[in-house]
Structure formats: structure tokens, C-alpha cells
């Protein structure tokens, strides 16, 4: 998936892409990718491809954002799909996740 190798990432912002089915089955893998991404000071999250998402995935993102803020990493969103937006607001997590403005459908 969209994440770059750690050694390359040291040079520029690392981009972490999310799978289209971003649910509990994927979170362990994503957990690893996101943890690795924290080695880089600038991180770009891409949730544009996400079609299905669940609480486990959003919780992972929340914990990641907390961690990044604590460590002083800069996290930005490249894009966030409508399903991601909807789910985050439903769970009251949209603000914590600092999601970008909703994309036109």
C-alpha cells in the first residue's frame, strides 16, 4: 500500500495511504506502518481511497495523531473520503483527527 520505505522517508514527508477496506482486519498492518512513519517529521495521510471503515481503524488514527502531536511530528491529510468523514463525525472523532474539508461527492 501507499507507505514509503523508512530509509527513503527520511528525506521528505512520508505518505501513508489507507486501503479501501480499512477495517479491523487491516489495523494491525496499518499500526505497523503508522508507527514506522513516526520516524519522519512530516507525515501525510491519504484517506482518499477509503470506502469502508470501522471504529478500530478510526481509533488507530486517533492514537496515531495523539502520538504524533506528542512527539512533534507534523501530520497532514492529503485527502479523506466521504465514508471516512461520515464515520469520524458519527463517532465524534472528526475534530480530533483534524480531517480536511469534505470532498465533494
Amino acid at each position: 500500500m501507499g507507505s514509503k520505505n523508512k530509509s527513503d522517508a527520511a528525506k521528505g514527508p512520508v505518505r501513508v495511504g489507507m486501503p479501501s477496506d480499512f477495517r479491523i482486519a487491516e489495523v494491525t498492518d496499518m499500526h505497523r506502518q503508522l508507527s514506522a512513519a513516526l520516524d519522519v517529521s512530516e507525515i501525510v495521510l491519504d484517506g482518499g481511497a477509503v470506502e469502508r471503515v470501522d471504529t478500530a481503524a478510526l481509533q488507530l488514527l486517533v492514537v496515531f495523531q495523539h502520538e504524533a502531536r506528542k512527539r512533534g511530528n507534523a501530520v497532514q491529510w492529503a485527502s479523506a473520503s466521504a465514508p471516512l468523514h461520515d464515520a469520524a463525525s458519527q463517532l465524534g472523532l472528526a475534530e480530533v483527527l483534524t480531517l480536511p474539508a469534505k470532498q465533494p461527492a
Binding site: T55, L60, V62, V63, L91
Partner: protein, 659 residues
Amino acid sequence: MSNISIAQFHKVFFEESLEGLDAMEAALLALDEGGDAELVHSIFRAAHSIKGGSATFGFPDMAALTHEAESLLDQVRDGRRAIDKSIIELMLRTVDCLRGMFDRAQSGQPLANGESESLKQQLAAAVGHAGPTATKVAAKPAAASGWIIQFRPHAGMLAGGNDPLRLLRELAALGQLVVEAQLDRVPTLDALDPTECHLGWRIELTGSVSREAIAGVFEWVEDECDLSIEPLVAAAPPPAPAVEAVSAPAGAGGAAGTTRSAAASSNDAGSVRVGIDKIDGLIDLVGELVITQAMLDQFREEFDPSRLAMLQQGLAQLARHTRTLQESVMGIRMLPIGSVFNRFPRLVRDLSQKLGKQVKLELVGEHTELDKTVLEKIGDPLVHLVRNAIDHGLETPEKRRATGKGDIGTLRLEAFHRGGSIVVEIVDDGAGLNREAIIAKALQKGLIKSGEGISDDEVGELIFQPGFSTAAVTTDLSGRGVGMDVVRRNVVDLGGTVAIKTRPGNGTTFTITLPLTLAIIDGLRAAVGDECYIVPLVSIVESIQLPAEAIRSVTGGGELFRFRGEYRPIVRLHQQFGCTNARQNIEDGLVIVVEADGNQVGLFVDELIGQQQAVVKSLEANYRRVDGISGATILADGSVALIIDIAGLIRLQSRRKAA
């Protein structure tokens, strides 16, 4: 899910929960005596079902209390905490408190009270999360325009396939949501197991939604989360009447109980749960009946005198099936006496602790079945007798040692069939009746003129006299002077008898004899002058014709006859009941030897007409109580026959003799 549709399940929920509480109590008591881990599981299961049910049916106070109990049990179950006396005591009190809550729920009162709240806190303290819990429920002002839902999934909920996102979407379909995620328990990224849930939510749901609707959303995850649903108190405008009507249970938790239990109590005719085997038996019998009826139908169509024998056979079959069917239908009302016995282990435990006595309770014959009505009414007399046995009968360990008995007293409750009756015996191996104290008291009360020549059994009879109590100190357990006479009256009201046998120094036995059913008796129809009486078959020993010289007259007007080597009194029914045109000479009529309470008498009647099943009609309900008569029945020709109460008649006879 409307209120009406759910209210109809309340009765079943109450019944099942009360059974669950009984099971919990029994298991707790067994645990107290050193039981195994399986008992903890069964207690947990019972608590868990009650919690689930009470949440589903809108009794949040009950759910909150059981939730705490369940948490504590969970710790025990997981081995995080050893079971000890204090936990058992706490759990037993919870069982009592929940019983009280069910009582209040059925009569439509608020469920929570000071006791339940303090118990909840004690449980919470024991669990280790005392203080403000999420499940705090208190009476709130009635106006509510929505709900505040505290929802905290357990860690394993996500892995179990339940997604809070889906639940919140379902909630959003019910009304306007304001969701506030609680991130206080979120770990660091390194420590995170991403498949575990660490989030919680506080959700405000505005709209006219019933608590049930919300509980329904969480129905499948209630074991996997901490959940509280509390009414949102409207700050500004009061809700529209329509909203009020729909969200009626939105008031206090107690008000929710009121609405539904009012409906529940309106049809409190009671119900019986019947085993499927009994129902199947009935269906079989009805099938047989239909076949026999078809067979008889054939005779009607093509009647031929040569087939008379077959017709008779068919009719006999019909009679047989009808009788079996009747017995089976009666059997539906029969329940094992175990349901009454079950309350005693707890009672005995509490009493013996309070009195510093050691008591071993033996229950025998719990499976003996009894009519439901009888069963419901026999509880109180039994409780009274058991209390008496422990309070007055059994001695303290010191006294027992002094008389050469073991420290532990034995109290045995035994139920069994004897003839057409159920016998319940309460046997203790205590001190027996205090003959001197009873005679002194009887003399003081003027019940007897002198204590000379009174047998032990007659002494026993004295304690059944109204207002008789020998307890030197009136305790709250027994000995309030409203004792044994009430017990006897209750049992007699059920058509039963109580007898007492005492062995000084070796204990006392109370024997309660109860009819199997109150509705139908087998009787022998006897003619006395112009009247007809039914003598219950169970009491009849023999019917004999006596020559005039077999009768001995005794001073005082009584008559005796010799039967199986002993003299028995004769009761001339026509004299007793004032019948006209009856036969006067003994040799012209018949003597029916009957027995009750261990006494035999001969009833003198004109003749026997035949055996008959009598559907008992209460005399009290239609006329008034008459001594010596237990009821009436309607004969095939439409006339009324009175049913003789043998025990009552014998008592009447001995009273007359004594007078």
C-alpha cells in the same frame, strides 16, 4: 418495540428472574458450605440473565445493581478474587434486595430505594471501582426530551465483531445525536493493540424515543460494554404532549416500572409452566378420545343389538379415557414441592446463625408434586413450623452436648405420597415439647382442668389452641402467641390436617397431610334418611354390617363397636346432621369405618349407593362453613350432596365427648 408489546413479556421475565434468584440463593448457600467453581458459574449466569432482562425490559435500577453484582462475580470467576463469607453475605443481601425490587416492580412502585443504592455502592466498592460510576441512576424530574447515553465498550468488543460505529448509526436513526468521544483511556501508539477498543462515548439523543428503543440498539452488546441510559432533563421548553405520551417511561426509572407493572398486575391470575411431556400426554389422550368417539358414532349409525357387547366395551373405554384425561389435566396444576422447600436452606442458615445453633437441614422428596394452589398456601405454615423447630425445638450446642447428643441438630423436611394425600413431615431431633410448661400454661389459660393423665399426644394438641404460646421470651422469630392455631387453620383451609408427635428429649415431628387436589375427590355415596352424603374414599377403611349386640353403650351416651380388636366410637350421621326418616337400628344399616389423624370412627348410614367422583364446590363461598362438612357436590340428577369432612367430624365428636 412499543411499551405495550414489551409489557406482555414482563410476567415471564419476573417469573424467570425470581427463579433465577432462587437458583442464585441456593448456589450461594451451597458455596457457603464449600462448593466448587461450577456454582460460581451458575450464580454468574443467573445474575447475568437478570441484568440482561432488566435492561431490556426497562428496569435500569435493577440492571445497575445486578451489573455491580455481576462485576464482582466476574472477578471471582476469573480467579482474581477468592470467594469468602463477606462476598457470599453481600450476594445474599443482593438477592434479597432484588426480590424486593421485583415485588415493587410488580406493584408498580419505584424500584430503587436507600437499601438498593447502598448495596450497589458496597458492591462497587468490593469490585474496586467505588465512587461515581457510569451507572448512577437516581430519580429525576419527569420532563425528559431525550436521553444521555454513556457507552463504554469493553476492550474485546471490536474483536467480537461488534462495531460501535454501527451502533451509533442505529442510534442516529432514532433521533438527533450529539456525540462526544471519550479518549481518556486511549493508550500510546506503542502500547496500542489496535483490535481492542479503548474509546468511550457520551451521547445525547434528543427526540421522542423510548428507553426500550435505545436499549434495543445495544441489546446484543450489553455484555460487552458498560452502558447507562438516563433521561435528559429538558432545560428549556417542556416537551410536547405527544412526546410525553410516547416517552412515558422516560420519567424516573421508577416511573418506567410503574407504567408496565400496572399492566402486568392487571392480570395477576397467575400462570403455570407446564412440562412439554405433560402436554404431549394430553394430546395423546385427546387423540384416544377422538378415536373412541368415532367408534361409538359408528354404533349409532348402524345399530344392531347383537353388537351390544362392543358398545359396552366402547363406553367403558370412553370412561377410562375421560378419567385418565381428567387426571392428566389435574396434573398440569401439579408442581414439585421443591419450589417451597428451596426457601428453607436460607431461612435455616440465617436463623441458626442468629440463634447460635448448629442445624443440619435435610430435604427429602422435593419432587413430590402438589396442586399449585395448595403449594402457594402451604409455604407460610411450613415456614412457621421450621422457625418453631429451630427456635424452640433444637437446642444450643452446649445443651446438646450436655444431653449426650451431637453438636449439630438435624431438621428434616420430607414430602411423600400416602394414599390419596401428600404428607409433609417436619422432624427435629431437639428437646421435644416441654410437657410441664405446656400443662402449666394450659391450666393457667383454663384449657384443661388438671394435668393428670394427659398423654404426650394430647399435650401436643394443646399447642394448637388459639393464643397458646409458652415462649418465656417473645422473640421476633416465633412465639408471638399467634402460632400453631394459625398453622392448623391454614392447613385445614386447604383440606389438610396437622398432627404432632413428640418424644421428650428426642425431638418432635409435625405431620401435615394435604389433599392432592382441591377440585375433585373420589367418594362413596351414602344414603342417610332423605339425604345423601359423600364420604371421601381416602378416609374409608372398611364398610361393615354390625349386629345389634356388637354395640356397647358407654356412660355419657356414647356408643362403641369392636373393630380389629379395638373399640371405636360410632357416629350416627342422622343424629349428627339431623336427618329425617333415617334407619335407627344398627343391624338395618351399615357402618363405614373411617380414619383421620390416626383416629378411627364408625359412621352409621342407611346404605351405600355407590362410588362417585365429586367435583367439590365450596360451601363457604356459597353458604357458610359447617363443622363436619368440607363442601358440597352436585349429583347426576341435579341434587346436592354434602361432602363429609372426616377429620372435622372426629374433632367434633371428641369435643362433644369432652364436654
